[in-house]
């Protein structure tokens, strides 16, 4: 089963709606709570990043019998230094994002921590695609 969510970057305060909607879907599908929690947290971090750094994007969620895949694709500025971005505490978030409680440099570390596999494809000026896999 595949689910699509469009994330509007114009309203940072609305970020997280896709993640909470997909969380409800997973609950309805009877997925184990521990898996739902990991998917929700990692997807939410990705969604927040998408809003605060890339003015939104699209999320595709695939639910299979043995795994859940979440693909977050944006056409934002891309990540110039991925190695730095993966480090806990590193952030280029705006003051607005920080006022919402984010920008602590925990986005990628959290996505890595809660997923079973994280792939990042990014190109400066073109965009970023994150693929998160979770084993069920």
């Amino acid at each position: 089963m595949t689910f699509h969510y469009n994330v509007d970057g114009g309203y940072p305060e609305m970020a997280g709606r896709a993640s909470t909607k997909f969380k409800s879907v997973l609950k309805d599908l009877g997925v184990a709570p521990s898996v739902i929690r990991r998917v929700s947290i990692a997807m939410y971090e990705g969604e927040i990043n998408m809003v605060i750094h890339a003015n939104g994007g699209d999320i595709r969620c695939e639910v299979e019998t043995d795994k859940i895949r979440v693909v977050l694709a944006d056409q934002g500025p891309g990540i110039p230094n991925l190695e730095l971005a993966m480090q806990a505490g590193w952030s280029t978030a705006s003051q607005e994002a920080r006022e919402l409680g984010f920008g602590a440099g925990m986005g990628f570390p959290n996505m890595k921590k809660y997923s079973d596999a994280l792939d990042v494809q990014t190109e400066v000026g073109v965009g970023t695609t994150l693929t998160l896999d979770f084993l069920i």
Binding site: E13, M14, G16, T20, S40, Y44, E45, I48, G101, M106
Partner: protein
Amino acid sequence: MKITEVQEILHAQLVTDLVEDFDVEFGYGCDLMSDVLAFVQHNDILLTGLVNPQVIRTCEVVDIHAIVFVRGKVPAQELIEIATSAGITLLCTEYSLYTSCGLLYQHGLLGEEIGHDFSL
């Protein structure tokens, strides 16, 4: 600790309906939602001075069912509605974050890292 006990200890105002009193196991005091996502693992109550919809969404994601807004912060009606639809109970207290956490701790509500003896 029951929500009504939290309310009493913090002289807090309940700003959402409490259909049924429920227990919270641990407390977590924080204004940084990224840290909430990283460290909250159990049935916690969040104490925070940050008042915006992301606080509610963050709690929804990590299954936190109760939030105390400290330092006299009062959520807007829109935020109360988001919390209500997410099944999250909101309280407000005049106490600071430090004092609020201290009072709850004094009454037996531990931080989860102590309750679970994580390596510190």
